[in-house]
Symmetry: C2
Subunit: 116 residues, 2 copies
DNA sequence: CCGTAATATGTCGTATGACGACATATGGCG
DNA sequence: CGCCATATGTCGTCATACGACATATTACGG
């Protein structure tokens, strides 16, 4: 069985992680992700638009996110592209979260205990 | 006061993180770090020598690690360079561990709760 | 009504760093 | 004697983050 090996895609970069995490909260368009990531990271992470739109097109290609064809209310003249997290994306985000936890735990042990 | 802003150095790459974490367990030479990182990561992370030695020289420049002048037992013809974690390096590793923890926690909340 | 800021999307050049491939040498074991 | 593990190192390439720049629309204050 050719189960997709989510493990092989890790680690995510911090930018990618936060973008996926933002979308885990619901569909959003680019600029909204930008703002959400600032909030999620307590202002620590400020994606440049270069990073954001580059990452979004990459994530689309990889199928980790998808375009949301929210029948764009015609009165919406304003350009807006909404994205949602795909199942694959969610699985990867879960795997990354697990990796993060185990990493932190592993580090805490060695830093606290001090033993080799 | 020019306190070093450890925050500004984060996030670390996974390679850097594991190299520092390995040295947190005591002084080691390059190849030993390579093996230690494999163990620490349950075989998931296999640094190439390109990554390792590149990272080590960078870490030296930054003062996060230092050469250990362990009066090399003269009978040691074998080339071996030992490294230790500096105070700065240890502070950064601590900061990164904290970042990792809060990231995992933040993600767990959003993924579990599902709320926006 | 005009200017400015926030919203919104995008491109481009540069720098960093991971990685695989390659190179080199010694020590130990069969 | 040959091979594998140990041990250190360089080089070219690729992925990606980032800042700078570009462009449009909407909202608000003066």
């Amino acid at each position: 069985m050719t189960t997709i090996q989510t493990q092989d895609e890790l680690p995510l970069t911090e930018s990618t992680f936060f973008i996926l995490l933002s979308l885990a909260g619901g569909p959003r368009h680019g600029y909204a992700i930008l703002k959400d990531v600032q909030t999620l990271s307590d202002g620590r992470v400020n994606l440049s638009t270069g990073t954001l739109y580059g990452a979004l097109s990459r994530l689309l290609e990889q199928g980790w996110i998808a375009r949301l064809d929210s029948s764009p209310a015609p009165e919406e003249a304003r350009p807006r592209k909404e994205y949602i997290l795909s199942d694959l994306g969610r699985r990867i985000l879960n795997a990354e979260t697990a990796r993060l936890s185990s990493l932190a735990e592993r580090a805490r042990l060695r830093l606290a205990g001090g033993e080799a």
